[in-house]
Symmetry: C2
Subunit: 287 residues, 2 copies
DNA sequence: AACGATAATATGTACGTACATAATAACTCT
DNA sequence: AGAGTTATTATGTACGTACATATTATCGTT
């Protein structure tokens, strides 16, 4: 598949061939980290657990520095995609810390997508680093206020009625179920920012019928009062319809960023929302 | 701010007032988990560390079940947004496990956005659960193949030249730097799927000048050969230009989903790409 | 050679202890 | 009362040991 030939699983050492009780540890973060008293001759059987002695002020190797050191080796291509890296005990020895510490670091790196780990098979550098962009999906109000803009919210429409077919499919509810249909507009510094159309299952969340949704947005109310166990979010690009354009104060057929969210609590569909952002909206993320 | 009045910081107990050495543990995941021998009278001073005895087949309370139990209490609103939850030692006692186990569970819940934790201040249920949608940004080829479609890739254009101003800004390179400008098309089942326009800094990645980018896409090549330490990704909606429409086999002014990516290695800008997806594209994520 | 049982092994995790750290609470002095 | 200092406390984490678990490697057996 890949062009790299790698028949025998071979560890990608290059540092420290075998020096079991090595005195100095390879530089971690540029800092030498001289753990002089590594492995204080196993007198572990004493009643008061002999604590690993360390210099008074010397920063000990913590999981974060192990994390950074491993990442550095990946970034400098000392360890390349697909390579098998040393096992936890070896790394612990090399870096002068406990296996648990290495484990913590490698575990984080694995969830970040840099490493692939499998029992017995070992740990290798991810060959297809699936970059996990962590999208923070905050409450719109906080997103706007966080930029120092003034947030405003207006309830446009609210009606209790039975849902249209596509909502039934989305939330797995019956066509005759008791639902709330809400449309509202969120503004930043007085300008239309996002237009929201939402369906909420009253059966799943009876309290919403009494909520005053002209003061607090349905989303914020739900966040505070209706927990959910799973959800789904999708993003796409659409053209503004005539009415959508009017509400967002733009022109028909403007390109709009659409976010669709559906949330569930167990097997009960809670809410399904269609969030249309005004032209020019960009969703960002670090990666 | 919030309508909830909560003056004195009060722990949200309701289970187990104080029964220090309680026999049964509150149901974890509905399973009773009767740890009969909790706290086996402190004979810890024995040389061979007295291991916590546990029933042969009974599943012990692991961090995952603690995680799920805490999440259940949040979802059932036993612990509401803003509430202070019991401290680690108390939870460990309640659930019959070590503090480290509780710590692991709560730590995960905090990174998932359900909890806010602060030293000394304690742990409380997040009042604005910033939902972190984890977007997996895979290599396009894998995304397409993962859906069982046939992937194809075509290099449209490749030239080595100096960058336009906006790229200089994006990547912080000088206007006279040596760069590669590439446009290519990715197809799924023979149909245009994504149109890519990319600038790569040859100075930062000299090896790319020799790469055969008609066989492997620039993105995949970079993933394998040019590590990066940080990156930025943004999403928006745009209208198709005349040429973009022609390439993606759609019509002018079609709404297109645009992904813009920039990556860095330390202080060196590596690449900046503009990925235009064919109409109808939806990016999904669980939440 | 194919197959199945068994051993070996790297990661996964639980636990108790010890100590670090940050933030609050309590206290002292003026 | 206000300011500065000290004690307290909940989380954060390092460590060693023990054991669980998932794979892979090995070794017989047919």
């Amino acid at each position: 598949m890949s062009t790299k030939t790698q028949t025998t699983p071979q560890t990608a050492h290059d540092t420290a061939p075998k020096s079991s009780t090595g005195g100095t540890v390879p530089a971690v973060n540029g800092m030498p980290t001289v753990t002089s008293d590594k492995k204080t001759t196993g007198d572990a059987a004493t009643s008061t657990r002999a604590p690993r002695r360390r210099a008074a002020l010397a920063a000990q190797t913590n999981w974060q520095s192990v994390h950074d050191e491993v990442l550095r080796r990946i970034h400098t291509r000392q360890w390349k995609p697909g390579d098998l890296i040393p096992k936890e005990v070896e790394l612990a020895e090399q870096l002068g810390c406990a296996r648990a510490t290495v484990n913590r670091a490698l575990r984080e790196l694995a969830t970040e997508g840099f490493l692939d780990r499998r029992r017995k098979a070992g740990t290798r550098v991810a060959s297809h680093p699936v970059r996990r962009a962590k999208l923070d999906i905050p409450v719109i109000r906080l997103e706007i206020e966080g930029r120092g803009q003034k947030y405003a919210y207006g309830l446009l429409y609210s009606e209790r009625r039975t849902p249209p077919p596509e909502i039934c499919t989305n939330l797995a509810v019956t066509p005759d179920s008791d639902m709330l249909h809400i449309t509202s507009l969120h503004l930043a510094d007085g300008k239309p920012y996002m237009f929201e159309e939402r369906w909420v299952s009253v059966a799943a969340t009876p309290a919403i019928a009494e909520a005053d949704l002209s003061k607090i947005s349905a989303n914020e109310w739900l966040v505070l009062h209706a927990p959910y166990t799973k959800g789904d979010i999708s993003f796409s690009a659409v053209l503004a319809s005539e009415t959508e354009a009017k509400i967002l104060r733009t022109h028909k057929d403007a390109p709009l960023f659409l976010m669709e969210r559906t949330t569930w609590n167990g097997d009960h569909g809670i809410t399904s929302a269609r969030l249309l952002f005004a032209p020019g909206y960009r969703m960002h993320s670090a990666i």
